[in-house]
Symmetry: C2
Subunit: 148 residues, 2 copies
């Protein structure tokens, strides 16, 4: 199987400095503000993002040490298959978090409810579009008029 290669497009800056005790999902990170710094060569790709109330950040668990197929997650004292958890110790250490987007200015996104470690390499940003749920308090930017 061929290797798949990615490169960071930016860095997540957050007040979470050590992984032990870090929130495991945004639910536990309510109110934690952070910043996403996008490298200058990708800034053109941010156009129209500010219209969305929430974005999905896709990032690299750069501090994860190795992979376990069975893990005891933060929220339990029993082992579960790693794919049934958000543990960073995954075959491909990819993390995703839905965060509130407060503001976009130049190459900096101000975000809220961030649960990633400070210094985390960012791989991608996508607009968050809740396909299944109540849309209260959600803004969908340019997509809104297309699908509502």
């Amino acid at each position: 199987m061929n290797k798949i290669q990615f490169t960071a497009i930016g860095i997540i800056h957050s007040p979470i400095k050590v992984s032990r005790g870090a929130p495991i999902q945004p639910r536990y990170a309510r109110g934690i503000e952070g910043r996403v710094e996008i490298f200058p060569e990708y800034v053109a790709g941010l156009a129209d993002l500010a219209g969305f109330s929430h974005v999905t950040l896709i990032y690299y668990f750069h501090k994860a040490k190795g992979c376990s197929l069975r893990v005891v997650p933060f929220l339990d004292d029993q082992e579960h298959g790693v794919f049934a958890t958000r543990s960073p110790h995954r075959p491909n250490p990819i993390g995703i978090s839905v965060v509130k987007l407060l503001d976009v200015r130049d190459n900096i996104l101000r975000i809220c409810d961030i649960d990633a470690l400070d210094g985390t390499p960012l791989l991608d940003i996508k607009p968050f579009v809740p396909e299944f749920f109540d849309r209260e308090n959600i803004r969908l930017g340019w997509l809104h008029e297309k699908i509502v």
Copy 2:
């Protein structure tokens, strides 16, 4: 910036054979059934996944040809920043889809509402936990009793 290297953990099998006209998000893929084949060495990681009604698939847009920072998405006739869209033509061609999980048997997941191309290399699976929304008709597997 260092390169980040991943390896496929499985393959998505879907009835969508060509990218032109492929659904762009699960909203437009309702009812489309597919299968995820997990490579045998990762099967232990699937334990407890069957308790979740929905999972997030993270995959590699293997047919994407190059990257554009501004794209005209399927749902519009105007250009948008690529990060405000789900276009595959991203700096890191990573796709995510929330799908219904119908069944897990050995190394095969039967899924519904799949919008990825047949043959797509799978990078990761995570349980789908709707932090922000109405929980009707959602099952959260082992997490349910921990957070509800």
